[in-house]
Amino acid sequence: MTRSEPNSKSPGLNTKARSTERPDIIAFRDVGLRYGRGPEILSDVNLTLPQGSFSFLTGPSGAGKSSLLKLCYLALAPSRGHISTFGQDAALLDNRETQAVRRRIGVVLQDFTLIDHLSVFENVSLPLRVAGQSRAQYTQDVTELLQWVGLGHRMQAFPSTLSGGEKQRAAIARAVIAKPNLLIADEPTGNVDPEIGRRLLRLFAEMNRMGTTVMIATHDIDLIQELEARVFRIEDGRIYKGLNAAPDFEETYS
């Protein structure tokens, strides 16, 4: 594997090179992030996630992958630069608008963030409950999805009784249940066996085929090579293009 040069261009502004014109779901422009008065974790990040794209984010531990994802789902605000989500400047969104944007984003985190005293069914249905749907409206969808991810028999189980892989699948089911426009996953196959991992990847690919923009942070090279997708490599807080980039990615960044 050869390391590429840092991408210094602003992809959000370099739209002429694209083969097809698709609105950006996320656009970072010269984004920097630091925690408190510490050093910059991310520097001069420029990247876009066009609508319907499938991207991998890879890089060593501590490189800033999770921080970048947090910026994507607005859990953090950048120290400098601009982030645009669904065409809106994230810095200008009030709380209600921010939460409306978050409802369009499904997130799977490394630590699953399942609520311990809620059953798997209740955890997975949480985004729909927050969106104001009644139990009668979502019961069938949640049940079907749980069966699809292999948790149909554990719907009433509590997270403390689940294995790591089961928790992972429950977290993924919660992230996708509301059919988000953007799906962000941090090491989604880290705790599951290869077969389940491939099955989950097929779920992400299927969602992407139906129009969901997907961004997955992973160390798993095999997983990256399963699909032809855009790949961002992050190292020392900077974004590099890398690995088996998809054609539109090459056009954008070359």
């Binding site: 789902y73 369009r104 997130v107 963030t113 809620l118 209740e122 927050v130 969106a131 139990r135």
Partner: protein, 302 residues
Amino acid sequence: MSRPLPPQQSILMPRGHNVRALITVLAIMAFLAALALLFSRATSRLSGDWQAQLSNSATVQISLAPLSTENDFETQMDQAAESLQSILGSEAKVTVVQQSQSRELIRPWIGNLELPESLTLPGLITIETAGNSGAPNAVLLETQLQKNGIVASVDDHSRWTDQIRGTARLLVFGGTSLLILLLVAGISVNLFATRSAMAAQRSIISVLAQVGATDGFIARLFVGQAGRRSASGAGIGLILAWAIWSALSLFSSVPELFWSGWGEALNDTLWLFGLWVLFVLVCAIAAGLATKRALIRERKRA
């Protein structure tokens, strides 16, 4: 056939930290608040009764001419009573207090000693006016009696009614202040409990924010929790106070202070219900405001 799903679970931890202790504290506060309310209302009611009794009556002390026989006393008192009746009209009730009755009235003040029969006591006449016309004007009555040749001093009880009114107002003010203080304490307890519950459930709030819950949605969860907690605590305290008051009404040696009939009991029970609603409302509103403030502060910190 698939099994039916169990009922929807509460997003927040159903039994947070120290909930039982918190409900006990709220119950004690509500109990004290209920007693303060019941005492205030009883004081107000009792003073009203006393004032009504006193304000429609007066006591006339007749200055008797030197007596030669016992009949002399009766004659002079009958003349005074007739004179009063003619001044006040037939609707007024004029009653001559007999010497024996006067002795009974005085005896407790001199150590329950028997008064000598030869001791002449002041001649007293009580007046009760009809309806709510109030006590007769003392000065006017004295002047009119004097015109009829009777020297008398009239006590219209205004000194006592003023004192009763003042004392009752003070007691009601004290009870109301105590009630307000207990409500404020209830609000403070709920603010503290909500903040502590938010700290304990920070991870849940973070998940909720991640899936797009607004501040309003999260605040409603805590409002519901505080409302249920306050409803339980206040309910227990108020029911206990109601039960004790009922028992006192049945068995107390001073029954006039407590409920003397179904009307009073029902009226006070409605007041207690109002207090319960108020308690729950202010606690829930306090919890909602505390949640929103904490969420905004948390966001600013992030």
